[in-house]
Each structure stands twice: as C-alpha cells, then as structure tokens.
Symmetry: C2
Subunit: 154 residues, 2 copies
Amino acid sequence: MSEDQQLRVSKITEGTVIDHVTGGQALNVLAILGIDGSGGEEVSIGMNVPSERLGRKDVVKVEGRELSQDEVDVLSLIAPAATINIVRDYDVVEKHRVERPSEVVGVLQCPNRNCITTKDEPVDSRFAVLEEGVRCAYCDTIIRESIADHIHVD
Amino acid sequence: MSEDQQLRVSKITEGTVIDHVTGGQALNVLAILGIDGSGGEEVSIGMNVPSERLGRKDVVKVEGRELSQDEVDVLSLIAPAATINIVRDYDVVEKHRVERPSEVVGVLQCPNRNCITTKDEPVDSRFAVLEEGVRCAYCDTIIRESIADHIHVD
C-alpha cells in the first residue's frame, strides 16, 4: 500500500505513549500537558480510534519527553483508564496506570468569578480531588461535571 | 517491532488527508474544521514530524469525511503549502492544493471589540483576504499577523 494510503506516524524512538484515553479527550490531554504545537515537540495523536477495551479511544504519543507521574496523574481526571508507556531506544521500559492525585494545582480554573484565583492575583488554582469531583481549596466551589471544560493552563 | 513500539494509526479507508501543514498548526487546522473530538470523528494527527519539503510539518487525517474546497481554502491562511488528498476505498482519488479564498466567513473573530460582529448580534464575521492579511468587511480592521490567534469557531 502506498504511503498516500497509509498514515504511519513516526516510530517511537523515545518518549511517552498515553494509551486508552477516553475517546475524544486527546485535545484536553494536550491542553493539560501544555502542548499546542508551538514548542516544536513531535506528537502523534489518534482520536476516536477503535479499541477492544474501550470501544473508542484516543492515543497521544509525545516524542522525546518522559512525562512525570505528577503530570500524568492529572490526566486521570479526564482519562481514568489511561495507560502510560515510557519508551527508550525503541523499547517500552516502564508502564503505568494513571492514579487519581490528592490535589491539582494550576491546571483548572475555578468557575467562581469571585475566587481569589480567578482575579488578577498571582495565585495558582488549587483543587482537592474528591470521589465526586474537585473542590477549590480557596472558595470550596465543587466542580462535579465536565471537568475538562475548566482546563485553563497559562 | 511490537505494537507498543510503533504507533501506527488506522489505515486510510476513506476520508481526507491534509498534508504539508505548517509545523505546529495542526490544532488550528482542527479548530477551523470544527473538530474537537466530541463529534466522534476518527482523526489522526502528526505534529512537527520531519519533512523533506518543509523541514517540519503537521499532517491531519480525517476518516469518513471529504472536505469541501471551501473548507480547505480557509486553511490556506495558516497552512499555505498544505496539500489535500481525498481517499476512497483505500485509494487517493483526488489531490488538491489549498487556494487562498477571496473571503472568509465565520472562522475568524474581529479584534475590534466594537465591531458589530463581536457584539451579541447574530452576524457572522466576514473578512476579505488580502495579500498582506485579512480585512473585516464591517469595520475595516486589518489583521496582518498571527491570524491563527483570531480563530474563533462557534
């Protein structure tokens, strides 16, 4: 099959593969990781591809970057079934599941317009992660649904 | 090489491949096309991958959707070297270059806060496409740089 007919993204030499992302969430994953293309990082993405495990899934591969456990745990808020493969020299050297963190700093924006974190104060947002959602550490506002809509990374 | 080591996105059965996109512009391409994952469309993206022609390029593949010439011509504003391959039944059946359109409706937001198109009026934005940028058809404001920053698709 000619190259036109098959889009094969570059082989993973070294970096991180985030697999089994909830279908449709890849762009939110990139937002959380602060990736928009302008930094020159080589990234490959599959959105809504078929998956035996999930039915539909997204996959995000970041070449030349090994994500820290802290970085990937924030992803658990939008992609709880995600698996992380760290690749070095073409081999998968580490596998992780994402784990729900106890708190999330700086990634989400509080929906309360009067919260100190949303005014022009130099205060990062800080949310405690609960079973049912996340709670602002400053004003106690709880976000239960559509957490991805509150992603705001400067 | 095992599947873990190589991220091969699904073969193109039918759809559109947008190749030779300016490196780093893939997410803006998605924004212009109104794709954010929530619609369930199967999309594959390579960002900042090596290219003989461009040095670095992005590639966007949309399964099951044939983009119209109008849709792709808007892409010329951010990816003038892009090439469009229409695929049916595994074969490339059409190839196009993007052509600069005479005007762009609805994709860009006028930076003039007093423009009628940015107030809560039901008026789509409309820009004439010039050699040096785009000009608002309502208030004559010209955007010369960073056109992608003005993408605002409802």
